[in-house]
């Protein structure tokens, strides 16, 4: 249609001004735009920790002795365990059931005798594995402790065979294993997905629901002017949110930016566009704001769960990875972590850039087909 060919900058500016005015009046939305990144950053950075320390631990000491004592001391020193006290075997189940302790370590009768004879004695560790992820760090520490504590003090013949291996875990990019390093770049993507898709999804349906769309359609404004005029404010908002997150993460969590900042912003812009096209498409399909909101959440949930933000991407089954690979967030996470923590360049990131481009193109094709230029 010839209507796309006439683009009036004056009309476009008018729509832009109107959108900003409405945004300014909408205090709740405005508060959300600024508040969500800050609150989520603080929550995820400080409150939510997938590598918890100081887990309450009880000890069943059926055979007290020097080795057992030094093992318990080593556990406490590892900072993963907080020894709440010695108990007898019957209390163990009770404490675990009630959730008062996360671990119960049992030194069985004859522990020291067997150790001295070189017969590996059983050291029973009962863990509350309701949250397996949270236990991971602590359990891996236990394995190492056994080797470090018992080996040096034993006479040569009694050292466990095969000889203890010097196990070293080298954590690259995040040597201290700080959750914030992983979460902050991810949070950037999650917040952008949520606000961009939701806001634009509501932008068009709101006009339709309030009846103002009819007025807009009766003016000479073209669809291109209306769409781009509505999108621009959200692009600015998205860039603002990213700046907010980056600044906060630098000040509060000391997260470095190893790569190029312009490249990061370029990638952010690409990711914003992918989400905006999706939002606009949702709003042209949805009949009202509620439907648009439902569609947003339908998209948001797999984005959070399957992108590698919440759970390790490599640990997911093949079909889940396939779905995850379609989502722009999956690729944006890799890009953001790459630029921030590893200093990756565009060439290295390209395998994650084209899937976002492809997604945007496909959604745009659907969106332009469903955009209603009339009230039909």
């Amino acid at each position: 249609m010839g209507r796309f060919s006439t683009f009036s900058a004056a009309r476009w500016l008018g729509i832009l001004i109107k959108e900003f005015l409405q945004l300014k009046r909408d205090r709740l939305t405005f508060g959300m735009i600024v508040g969500i990144p800050i609150i989520q950053l603080l929550l995820f950075g400080f409150a939510i920790n997938s590598d918890p320390r100081n887990l309450p631990t009880a000890v069943v000491m059926a055979d007290p002795g020097p080795f057992a004592r030094s093992y318990v001391a080593a556990m406490e020193n590892s900072s993963y365990f907080s020894i709440v006290g010695s108990i007898d075997a019957r209390q163990a189940d009770e404490l675990l059931d009630e959730g008062k302790v996360k671990f119960v370590v049992t030194f069985a009768p004859g522990f020291h005798r067997d150790l001295a004879r070189g017969i590996s004695p059983a050291l029973l560790v009962e863990a509350d594995a309701t949250d397996p992820m949270a236990m991971g760090g602590a359990i891996s520490v236990l394995n190492q402790l056994g080797l470090q504590v018992f080996a040096p003090d034993l006479p040569g013949f009694a050292r466990p065979h095969p000889p203890p291996v010097d196990l070293r875990i080298h954590r690259r990019y995040n040597p201290e294993g700080l959750t914030a390093y992983n979460v902050v770049p991810g949070l950037m993507g999650v917040i952008l997905t949520m606000t961009m898709v939701l806001m634009t999804g509501l932008a068009m349906t709101r006009e339709r629901e309030r009846g103002t769309f009819e007025n807009l359609l009766s003016t000479p404004a073209t669809p291109l002017e209306v769409l781009t005029g509505k999108i621009i404010p959200y692009i600015i908002i998205g860039l603002l949110q990213v700046t907010l997150i980056l600044t906060a993460s630098r000040w509060i969590f000391d997260i470095p930016v190893l790569g190029s900042l312009p490249l990061l912003y370029g990638m952010v812009l690409l990711f914003i566009c992918a989400n905006l096209t999706l939002g606009i498409t949702f709003s042209s399909i949805a009949r009202n704001q509620l439907q648009s909101m439902q569609m947003t959440f339908f998209f948001f949930l797999p984005s959070i769960l399957l992108s590698g933000f919440m759970f390790p991407f490599q640990a997911m089954p093949g079909w889940a990875q396939a779905i995850g690979n379609i989502l722009p967030l999956t690729h944006f996470l890799a890009i953001a972590r790459g630029i921030l923590l590893k200093g990756s360049g565009l060439a290295l990131l390209w395998p994650h850039v084209w899937p976002i481009l492809l997604f945007t193109g496909a959604v745009l094709a659907i969106g332009s087909k469903t955009y209603r230029r009339t009230l039909d």
């Binding site: 004056a10 009309r11 001004i17 109107k18 009819e214 359609l217 009766s218 009230l375």
Partner: protein
């Protein structure tokens, strides 16, 4: 003597799913006249108006609006038309001035600031320019909506039930304004449910179930129906209308204030039926010239609302 036609369409059809909402609409509106669009709820008035201003594309049919093709040139028609929607459709969260400024930008009004200021003064809203449109009362919303339609000096005004929910004083002021605009050469097409408003129009069209049942001046419509009307007055009129409706020759019976009107096309049959039914009752009956309202109620009773909904 006939002025050129502002609207000249024929054979317009529009379906929503399997509902045939506008059936073979043919309409001629002369430049500078006030044309009234009447019909019950769901008769296709709003759809017809939307077809004329390019908000809907007709399934079939053709015609011109301001000399431009309604199907192909809708983008060129829009800048010359002012469309006032049935529901208030300006932005509640923008101020009066911001709304006018936005509409002026959309239509590329020359000397925008002056046009907006002048409109604010004409409306008497200059002191409340910063008030949000959503906080205005019904009458003021309607005036603001009309003002926003006039900012770009359109040649044709399409008003969809502009006075619904507005008090009588504001209604009268509104119609003064419409006549004023018409005198300055603007063509006005207005849909309404009110008889007094219908009588203020130069010409009328009556729409029912998407079909144009009658059109012309008020006198033409009344006389074309060839109705004979009797006025029945007296005490104990209660319940009489339903009895009268059953009688042969009575096509329409309805209460008008303290009296009843009964109409039918067969004068002799109507008279004998009425006289027989009213015999023995202390009621007075006399023939009167049928009014526009008699004509419309007659048209309305002759056709049923097929949708029962409120799509106009």
């Amino acid at each position: 003597m006939d002025a050129p036609l502002a609207i000249d369409v024929s054979g317009l059809n529009k379906h929503f799913g399997d509902k045939h909402v506008v059936k073979n609409l043919a309409l001629q509106v002369r430049e500078g006249e006030i044309f009234g669009f009447l019909g019950p709820n769901g008769s296709g008035k709003t759809t017809s108006i939307r077809l004329l201003c390019g908000l809907l594309t007709p399934d079939s049919g053709r015609g011109t609006c301001l000399g431009l093709d309604v199907v192909k040139d809708s983008a060129r028609i829009k800048p010359q038309v002012g469309y006032m929607t049935q529901r208030f459709s300006l932005w509640d969260d923008l101020s009066i001035e911001e709304n006018l400024d936005f509409i002026a930008r959309m239509f590329g009004v020359a000397d925008r600031r002056r046009a907006v200021t002048r409109t604010l003064e004409e409306l008497g809203l200059a002191s409340r320019r910063r008030q949000l449109a959503g906080t205005l009362s019904g009458g003021w919303k309607q005036r603001l909506a009309l003002a926003s339609c006039l900012l770009h000096r359109p040649r044709l005004l399409l008003l969809d039930e502009p006075t619904a929910g507005v008090d009588p004083k504001a209604r009268r002021d509104f119609w003064e304004e419409i006549h004023h605009l018409s005198a300055s050469g603007i063509t006005v097409l207005v849909s309404t449910h009110y008889m007094d408003e219908a009588e203020r129009c130069h010409r009328l069209a009556y729409l029912s179930c998407g079909q144009l049942l009658a059109s012309g001046t008020a006198e033409e419509i009344v006389s074309s129906l060839r109705l004979n009307t009797w006025e029945i007055s007296g005490h104990k009129l209660h319940g009489l209308t339903s009895i009268l409706r059953q009688l042969p020759g009575v096509e329409m019976a309805a209460s008008f204030g303290t009296a009843l009107h009964a109409s039918g096309r067969d004068a002799a049959l109507l008279q004998t039926s009425l006289e027989r039914a009213l015999a023995g009752r202390s009621l007075h009956m006399q023939p009167i010239p049928p009014s526009l309202e008699d004509a419309f109620i007659h048209l309305m009773q002759g056709s049923q609302d097929p949708y029962g909904g409120n799509r106009h």
